[in-house]
């Protein structure tokens, strides 16, 4: 057994996290910053943070992931990292020529109390930031929240850095897509486009972390939300935030600063959650074209055709809160029984949200928990299907439960970069993958006389 030491019974722990279901804020901030066109994320801390985040994102996307680091030494840890950051800003603009440097902090720079705002002011005073270029920042202490909160904080940093009040209102809608894949961001843009709504989607990693092989490397690929557009976000008619945890705070900040009203929706995973997005776009002047209605119909058709294979199947879910709430709702719509739902991200509301989505209190939910705990739950009450990131494959193999990979990180498969799980088409992809897992298992386990050709 891979996880031979995981006991059957549940042993409660107070201090030891085992097999985490989250990672730290800075990687979320780095990911969000990559969703700005010609932006170089910068990690203000030790080199290792930046190396780990770049490695993790690269393993997940199989794409170049560029970022700078303040390369703290023991001296900077003691005396402060101002000098390092000032040098870094100057060197980055000279050598790598980005339009934007998006600085995020680390547990190191937060613990010593580096004032990044003040350092940015100094950098500007010392003319280390060329005319027309930007340095934005997010405070992302690793000892608070999780990677999802880091994403959320960099979204706030983007709002802080670019949004200006005043100017003509309207003409477009801001959409904050949540900590989702480039494919999902592209799909959200497509839906808005199909409906005739002009949307400024930010961050937008499509065209950045799903780039083509052309025989030439571009440090700043064509994708990402352009600075010129971001500078106008304060003039948006409204903001749609997808996912209250990852996108809500940024949308609210934009409301506070520039009076752009916001609506916070669940991530559009599944039919109903996508309906909510489509309705929100309808309320902002969008029309549902035949093409989109057709896709919805197709997705529902798969569900009605194959309903028998989903009905009553038990599922265990582990991942990020916004994803899990929508996924729980979707699986419940399919007639599946969502039994265990675990996130590593802290947040008390998670428990009520999941119970609402599952339409029952009879579900094991925990925030700020880990894979080890989920594994114990699964040992005491086995399930038919497991949803999680690549780390779930260890439990999946030991317990012989099929796994649908979802969330971050996925190190061992491709697809998430290119094919969405949001929207109606995303629902179709999820359905296909779930059915593949369920039916392959049925095929594998069926007695010879009950091995079915037609399913």
């Amino acid at each position: 057994m891979l996880l031979r030491h995981t006991p059957e019974g549940i042993a409660e722990r107070e201090a030891l996290t085992i097999q985490p279901a989250k990672t730290c804020q800075p990687i979320g901030a780095m990911y969000a910053a990559l969703g700005i066109h010609r932006c170089l994320p910068h990690s203000h801390g030790s080199q290792g943070c930046c190396a780990y985040h770049r490695s993790a994102l690269t393993r997940h996307y199989k794409e170049p992931v560029m970022a700078g680091t303040s390369s703290f030494t023991e001296g900077s840890a003691v005396f402060g990292g101002q000098g390092n950051l000032l040098d870094a800003i100057q060197n980055i603009f000279s050598i790598y020529d980005p339009d934007v440097i998006a600085v995020h902090t680390t547990c190191l720079s937060e613990t010593i109390g580096d004032d990044v705002n003040q350092i940015m002011v100094k950098a500007r005073e010392e003319k280390k930031i060329p005319e027309g270029r930007f340095v934005i920042k997010a405070s992302t202490p690793s000892y608070v929240g999780s990677h999802v909160i880091g994403f959320s904080n960099m979204v706030k940093g983007i709002v802080e850095g670019f949004a200006a009040p005043g100017g003509a209102r309207g003409g477009f809608v801001n959409v904050i897509p949540g900590f989702v894949e480039p494919s999902d961001m592209a799909e959200i843009k497509r839906i808005a486009r199909l409906m005739g709504v002009t949307a400024l989607v930010f961050p937008d990693t499509s065209g950045v972390l799903d780039t083509p092989q052309t025989g030439s490397y571009e440090m700043y690929p064509a994708g990402g939300a352009p600075v010129s557009a971001l500078l106008g976000m304060g003039g948006g008619a409204s903001t749609i935030a997808l996912g209250p945890i990852a996108s809500g705070p940024g949308a609210r900040l934009l409301d506070t600063r520039c009076k752009v009203p916001c609506e916070i929706l669940p991530l559009p995973i599944g039919i109903r959650a996508t309906d909510a997005l489509v309705n929100a776009l309808r309320a902002r002047g969008g029309n549902v074209p035949d093409e989109l209605a057709f896709e919805r119909g197709q997705a529902v058709d798969i569900i009605t055709d194959m309903q028998q294979y989903f009905f009553g199947k038990k599922a265990a879910l582990i991942g990020d809160p916004d994803h899990l709430v929508s996924l729980t709702g979707f699986l419940t719509d399919l007639g599946m029984l969502v039994r265990h739902v675990i996130t590593g991200t802290p947040g008390k509301k998670f428990v009520t949200r999941i119970k609402e989505a599952a339409q029952t209190d009879d579900v094991n939910v925990r925030e700020m928990s880990d894979y080890f705990y989920l594994h114990q739950l699964v040992k005491s009450e086995p399930v038919d299907l497991l949803f999680g990131n690549s780390y779930a494959k260890y439990m999946s193999r030991d317990e012989d439960i099929p796994l649908v990979r979802m969330g971050f990180p996925i190190y061992d498969r491709i697809g998430h970069q290119y094919f969405p799980i949001v929207g109606y088409r995303g629902a179709m992809r999820l359905l296909e993958r779930m059915l593949d897992a369920i039916l392959s298992r049925q095929d594998r386990d069926a007695p010879e006389e009950r091995f079915e050709l037609v399913m």
Binding site: M1, R4, H5, A11, E14, A15, L16, T17, I18, Q19, P20, K22, T23, C24, H42, G45, S46, Q47, G48, C49, A51, Y52, H53, R54, S55, A56, T58, R59, K62, P64, M66, A67, G68, T69, S70, S71, T73, E74, G75, A77, N84, A88, Q90, N91, S94, I95, Y96, C107, L108, T111, P141, S142, Y143, Q213, T214, G215, S216, Y217, F372, Y391
Partner: protein, 540 residues
């Protein structure tokens, strides 16, 4: 690329830099020139990376927890800090291990962390760490626990060593020790290697007394069993009649570490990460060491011959010769088929603290030329050889890493070879306790760059277009977007082993695939080659 490095290339590498950066980087870029007695030009190494530079390097924690201790299966490891560090070092280095039985302890698939929260940063994390250790003991009953400090731990003043001592008093059956490997220590992973060596040496080595059977008892230092390399080396040792007592640290056990002073020779693979241990064991127990290399079939044969000759054991020598003959015959068959396709092609290697040297052997066997190489976190001795050690400047960053004073163990110090015997061995080119470094073995005029960064890599790729580039995951897809294959020499691209004879064969096949792959011919679409197609409109 021809071997001579033109001056234009040297300028291109640094001309985009602000002058301060250019001056510093200039000292870390050297054109190789091997003079008398292997003297090479000095290269600046093991110095700070300039802030803002996109570097390959990681941190001290990564070197300590990830590299040296990571491959151990039965030392339960707790990362003390916020969640990230423990998460990123969770199974990502591909250290393989084979517990002897299905019940034997193996904690490698479990990442454990104290997941420090804001209140712990404010009020201190010691209490949480103690509790975490207790919970780990209750759940897993480990023989040993290692605690690894992350950046904030040192700053908030948690005394991880006091916690370890206190917990060990409470649980005397468990050896509990802590590593002050905060990420800001030193200038790269290298500091973490040193910190790991020190603690394992003082807290583990010499605490056990297991003895393994056999006349030729050897420890293998600096082999981390990535992709199964250690398994292949174990196979070779066994076939040659050599007893492998402990490997630091691939496929190893705590018990083997604890009793490794019972071996009679230390052989060193990765000089950078483990030379401290070799030196300290020599001083304390009288176990000499020499450098070996199991990357490359010829290097493997050379290393095995050296090991059996050290012991002067005729039976083992005969066994080894017979084994080498059989294995190299197999290797040759594959190489003869592949080499015509790889001959004359070029490689660049920028990785690690030893691998950029070791893997040149394999490329040499393939008839490929290493035109540029460098390390990510090595020191001058890894480039120029240990002979430069007396002249290496110790700067503030290195001084912060403890250098242990080791003296002979009153009871257990027993020199395995007398000073005369060592001299005799050195006369036979044994280079006892020495490493000649990478540069003396590289050709004249090749380029050596320390701590290569993204910009310089970009210049090298555009200007020199090597047939294969070797580095790590962060570099992989940059290089490949240029249409140049990148071989990861940290993770082996999830394949391997590459050590020993079977590993060499794997590597030959892999490089053959990479440099001769047809997939790159798909990159240019037909409309790029032929912008206009002739044809007629259907509805003319």
């Amino acid at each position: 690329m021809e071997q001579t490095v033109d001056s234009k290339l040297m300028t291109d590498l640094t001309n985009k830099y602000p002058s301060k950066v250019a001056r510093k980087r200039g000292k870390q870029v050297v054109v190789n020139n091997v003079g008398d007695q292997g003297l090479v030009p000095p290269i600046q190494a093991n110095v700070r990376t300039i802030p803002g530079i996109i570097t390959m390097r990681g941190c001290s924690y990564a070197g300590c927890k990830g590299v040296v201790l990571g491959p151990t299966r039965d030392i339960l490891q707790i990362t003390h800090g916020p969640i990230g560090c423990g998460f990123y070092s969770w199974l990502t280095r591909r250290n393989q291990t084979r517990p002897p039985t299905p019940e034997s302890p193996n904690y490698m698939p479990y990442a454990m962390s104290t997941d420090l929260q804001e209140e712990n940063i404010i009020f201190g994390g010691e209490k949480k760490l103690k509790k975490a250790v207790e919970e780990a003991i209750t759940l897993f009953h480990p023989r040993a626990i290692g605690i690894f400090s992350t950046c904030p731990v040192g700053l908030i003043g948690d005394d991880v060593h006091a916690v370890a001592r206190e917990m060990e008093e409470k649980y005397p059956d468990v050896n509990i020790f802590a590593f002050s490997c905060e990420g800001y220590k030193g200038v790269s992973q290298s500091a973490g290697h040193h910190i790991a060596n020190n603690k394992v040496f003082t807290e583990v080595v010499g605490t056990g007394d297991m003895k393994k059977d056999g006349k030729l008892r050897v420890n293998l230092l600096g082999e981390y069993n990535i992709g199964g390399d250690a398994f292949e080396i174990e196979r070779i040792f066994e076939a040659c009649g050599v007893t492998l007592h402990a490997t630091f640290s691939g496929n190893s056990s705590y018990e083997e570490f604890a009793s490794c002073h019972n071996a009679d020779l230390n052989v060193v693979m990765c000089h950078r990460s483990i030379n401290y241990m070799a030196e300290m064991m020599d001083k304390k127990y009288g176990i000499p060491w020499f450098k070996v290399n199991f990357i490359g079939a010829n290097a493997t044969s050379k290393s095995m011959r050296k090991i059996v000759q050290y012991f002067g054991d005729q039976e083992a020598a005969a066994k080894t010769e017979a084994f080498i003959e059989a294995e190299t015959a197999e290797v040759k068959k594959v190489l003869d088929a592949i080499r015509p396709r790889t001959e004359g092609k070029t490689a660049m290697l920028f990785v690690g603290g030893s691998r950029a040297h070791h893997y040149q052997e394999l490329f040499h066997e393939l008839g490929m030329k290493t035109v540029a190489a460098g390390y990510e976190f090595a020191h001058r001795d890894d480039y120029e050889g240990r002979k430069v050690l007396p002249t290496v400047k110790v700067d503030a960053d290195s001084r912060n890493i403890e250098e242990l004073t080791v003296s002979p163990d009153p009871a257990r110090y027993s020199p395995r070879k007398s000073a005369e015997e060592i001299m005799t061995l050195n006369d036979k080119d044994f280079r006892m306790g020495d490493y000649e470094g990478m540069m003396p073995e590289m050709e004249q005029g090749t380029l050596v760059i320390d701590d290569l960064n993204h910009h310089e890599m970009d210049v090298l790729l555009r200007r020199c277009k090597p047939d294969v580039f070797c580095a790590g995951i962060k570099e992989k897809y940059v290089v490949q977007k240029y249409g140049i294959p990148l071989k990861q020499l940290h993770s082996y691209d999830y394949s391997g082993p590459y050590a020993g004879y079977r590993g060499a064969v794997n590597f030959y096949r892999e490089i053959d695939r990479m440099v001769n792959s047809k997939v790159w011919s798909l990159v240019a679409p037909p409309w790029r080659e032929e912008p206009q197609l002739r044809g007629a409109y259907v509805a003319g």
